[in-house]
Symmetry: C2
Subunit: 565 residues, 2 copies
């Protein structure tokens, strides 16, 4: 029971000290989340209040089911972009069906996450390699920032990929609203300065690190307050500056996703991608923070926590959510002790949704766009291209493909292609395994590659170390390699296959080994094995192959060498 409701574990020991830590963290996170939630709703193509709603019920549900003590769940940039991309293909932004489809997407994504948690399929997320994730997030950041430029320029522009977005922006550049532009550009510049320049300045003026940090987090709130006042004072909305406008004063409403087969079928693949990417983002944040306090994260329980959060979002007017990086770090740094900090944040946001929404009537959309741009540009990091180029070409091509296709054809195509390509490149490497001829390193019992080390060999014994598991994709290669190697080398009387790197022999490979055994026998050459590992040996014993083997199985290569030399 405690395993499935982690709240029972930490809730039992909840005390006053934890409470006061949690309350302070919640206050800071709430202040930070208000503009962020509104902005990500805008990015997802939804009315601003959806961002607040998506942060309330989901946080509470994660508090009950999640295992991370610092993770803050809610709308995040990449998932909001994926939501917009998915729904943009299906229904027009702003249309009535759009908000319902967003609920459905959250619902489906929640159900998928719950199913993955129950069936322990969290390992699927491992197929997203680090470089593919890095490339995907970088490319998404570029797209998100570009998509928000229209709000900075005060023009209409749209597009599903980078090229369309840029072309559309240029086409509409004549309609630029200069007041919006000045407001948007100066807010963007201010927020960049808050990130880069303000903190050192405050420290130099004698503030403590903690106080400087809090002040930095309050930067976006300050920008919201100031630009709202400016728009109100000078009546700029009459001069074409787009504002947030009427936002209902309400707690999250009870909503129903559209569960028609038709819509569910259309949304299934996007929901799956959103689930997996959201899970990967969330779990990596959770594990990084947990490690700092020597806490453990249970990935399958995390799936359940995030699944519950998304189902919650679906029934309370939200859209797909996950654990966000920046807000979780703020939560952690602000001293959150338990998931209760999340619950208190939810209360704070509920109060905001009830009481503060009239105050943001005059909030310009340009300010929200500036918040998004500054937040996502910190995610953009092309250095993964350089690093992977230096380390491994396979990783490089997977990253490059992910970035190019995400920018050129959209987020879904980009990440799918990255995953498929990295799996294919991995498999491809295993189809032509590295095979080393090994000899004895003098004065040891250790065997190494004859080409790299100065080792002892005898001409009538060929010792091969096959650096790969033997399975269907390379079984044929091994056959071909052995015939070619042995056919031209008449002194060879014994072939020893050193099994230290063979972790599996599947049925295809077993059949190839049988063929090799027979054909080497026909050439008058005996086939031996050494260092076959326990699990492989167990498997081989189920068939008659070892009985038919012309040679022997040695515990270690040294035994084989001494016996046969």
């Amino acid at each position: 029971m405690q395993k499935y409701l982690p709240i029972l574990t930490w809730g039992r020991h909840y005390n006053k000290a934890a409470f006061s830590s949690d309350i302070i963290a919640a206050l800071i996170v709430t202040i930070m989340l208000i503009p962020q939630s509104l902005a990500y709703a805008l990015l997802a193509g939804l009315p601003p209040q959806a961002g607040l709603y998506a942060s309330i019920a989901p946080i509470i549900l994660y508090t009950i089911f999640g295992t991370s003590r610092a993770l803050a769940v809610g709308p995040v940039a990449v998932i909001s972009l994926m939501t917009a991309a998915t729904l943009g293909n299906i229904v027009e932004q702003g249309a009535m069906g759009y908000a319902i489809a967003a609920l459905t997407l959250a619902f489906l994504s929640g159900v998928i996450l719950l199913a993955m948690g129950v069936f322990k399929l969290g390992f699927l997320a491992n197929f997203l390699s680090h470089p593919v994730i890095a490339g995907f997030i970088t490319a998404s950041g570029v797209i998100i920032a570009t998509s928000q430029l229209k709000n900075i320029f005060g023009v209409d522009a749209s597009g599903h990929n980078l090229l369309e977005l840029v072309v559309s922006l240029f086409e509409h550049l004549g309609e630029i609203n200069w007041i919006t532009f000045v407001l948007g550009a100066s807010t963007t510049a201010f927020l960049f300065w808050v990130r880069k320049g303000m903190k050192p300045m405050l420290r130099a003026r004698g503030l403590t690190a903690g106080a400087a940090d809090v002040a930095t987090k309050a930067g976006p709130v300050l920008a919201v307050v100031v630009t709202t006042l400016v728009v109100w004072a000078f009546d700029l909305s009459a001069k074409g500056v787009k504002i947030v406008g009427d936002v209902p004063q309400s707690l999250p409403p009870l909503t129903m996703p559209d569960v028609s087969m038709n819509l569910m079928t259309l949304l299934f693949v996007p929901a799956l991608l959103i689930s997996i990417i959201g899970f990967v983002e969330s779990i990596s944040v959770a594990q990084t923070l947990a490690a700092k306090k020597r806490q453990r994260i249970d990935p399958n329980q995390e799936l359940i926590g995030l699944g519950a959060a998304n189902v919650g979002a679906a029934f309370t007017g939200g859209f797909p959510v996950t654990g966000g990086f920046s807000r979780s770090v703020v939560n952690f740094d602000a001293g959150a002790e338990t998931p209760a900090a999340g619950a208190f944040t939810a209360v704070g946001l509920a109060i905001a949704a009830l009481a503060l929404t009239p105050l943001i009537f005059f909030l310009p959309k340009a300010t929200l766009a500036a918040t998004i741009i500054v937040a996502v540009l910190s995610l953009v990091d092309f250095s993964i291209l350089k690093r992977s180029w230096g380390y491994s070409k396979a990783d490089f091509f997977a990253v490059l493909t992910t970035i190019v296709l995400t920018l050129g054809m959209g987020v879904e195509v980009g990440v799918t292609a990255g995953v498929i390509l990295s799996i294919f490149l991995h498999l491809h490497k295993t189809t032509k395994p590295h095979i080393a001829e090994v000899g004895l390193v003098p004065n040891t019992q250790h065997f190494r590659n004859t080409l790299r080390h100065d080792v002892q060999t005898v001409p009538h014994v060929l010792s091969l170390r096959i650096d790969e598991s033997l399975y269907f994709a390379n079984a044929k290669f091994l056959e071909d390699y052995l015939y070619d190697r042995v056919a031209g080398d008449t002194p060879i009387k014994h072939v020893v296959l050193m099994g230290s790197a063979i972790n599996e022999v599947d049925l295809s490979a077993l059949e190839s080994l049988e063929a090799i055994n027979e054909r080497l026998d026909a050439m008058g050459v005996k086939l031996h094995f050494s260092e076959i590992k326990g699990p492989v040996m167990d498997r081989l014993k189920r068939e008659h192959f070892l009985d038919d083997l012309t040679g022997q199985v040695f515990l270690c290569q040294y035994d084989a060498y001494v016996t046969l030399k």
Copy 2:
């Protein structure tokens, strides 16, 4: 030049002895191929002469470009079934467009094979594991045999999978034509007896093995001759026995495939599957026969040979072809010395197409159906289910899925699902690698699993042998495993990762190793490596990981043990 035109190699040394061997083999193969070609055309839903045409130009082109000395190219059962399944979904059988679409399928398949040959993509065929192929061929055999029962019963029946076929047969069973049934059933029984009972009988009556063999191969021809005469003599076609009817007396006509984008798009995936399955069938026959004479097959050149053959089929009224098992074995056994035997076979079939077609006017379709049924039932072998169950559950599930889906949903779905499942199961195994704690085997320098062997260890050194390459799909698992293992075991001061089975460390895994190094350091534990292989070491040296390592890299595990104990 010789590499791309193998004919230049063997053609130069061609002599009278080889000529007479080849002529005899060609004669035997021609006699065998006439009924077989007609029957496979029927199976593919095409007029009988298409089977002859598909055996003439393709054989000659393979003679020029192929590398196998015994392979006989032409229509084969599984590829004909796949052709019928593909075209049946697109155009109605017997319709005018059907024959054109068959040409297009051959053309596309030829182009795909040529492209695979030029770009050296033959390795792709390795992803069809032996068990998946065995399951696929068995299931196809069952479908083919069932689909031919309608010709034995003399009824109309159709269906894309086993269930539909069986249901359709039962629905039409009332319309059974008893004369057809007697003719078909007795021919089938006769052909089975020829395969199983006649050869031993002939041997017992004093015939040599060779002569008995030739007589056996002539069985289908005898059946053709006798049933044709019976139908003609008793005018059975007037009594509802379906006959082959008018077949034009002609050499293969010059035909043009329909290369419209629309049709090519529809046929691309089926053509790809046909190409790969045809290639796999062909290359395994070619390699089996080549090995018997210590000859070499070049897989990429084989792709070019088969590609040319299919393009040839497309322009001469044929349909997709590949190297067939039974005809190649007959060719080999009959003593074919060079690919010229194939060319002579083509001449024989051309003569048949020109001169013999009027003679088969009264040939009953039931006889052809009997030929197909007897041929394909020899392919049906469910023992792969039992063998894979005993050896490896992953192989078993791949086979079972292939068989069930091929029977239930058709050949394309079946083989695709089999391939995808076997790749997935292979990857899945690598996501949670076997990790052994190792210790020193007394009186050796060899290290083995502490759970399986009686070995020496010291409590402050944890030596782990990770039995898998480290890559994105298991990087996280390794992190989790190590923290869990080390966190609860305070005496541990050193962790040695033994790299004998680590064949790759990709960028994701490198980042995990960096994280492990840092976190173990925070726990006061040093991380060491031993037995890192050359290629992996080269890779690791490109980054600063080895400089940041808290411990050392040892050449062998014994050094690590002696130094740290």
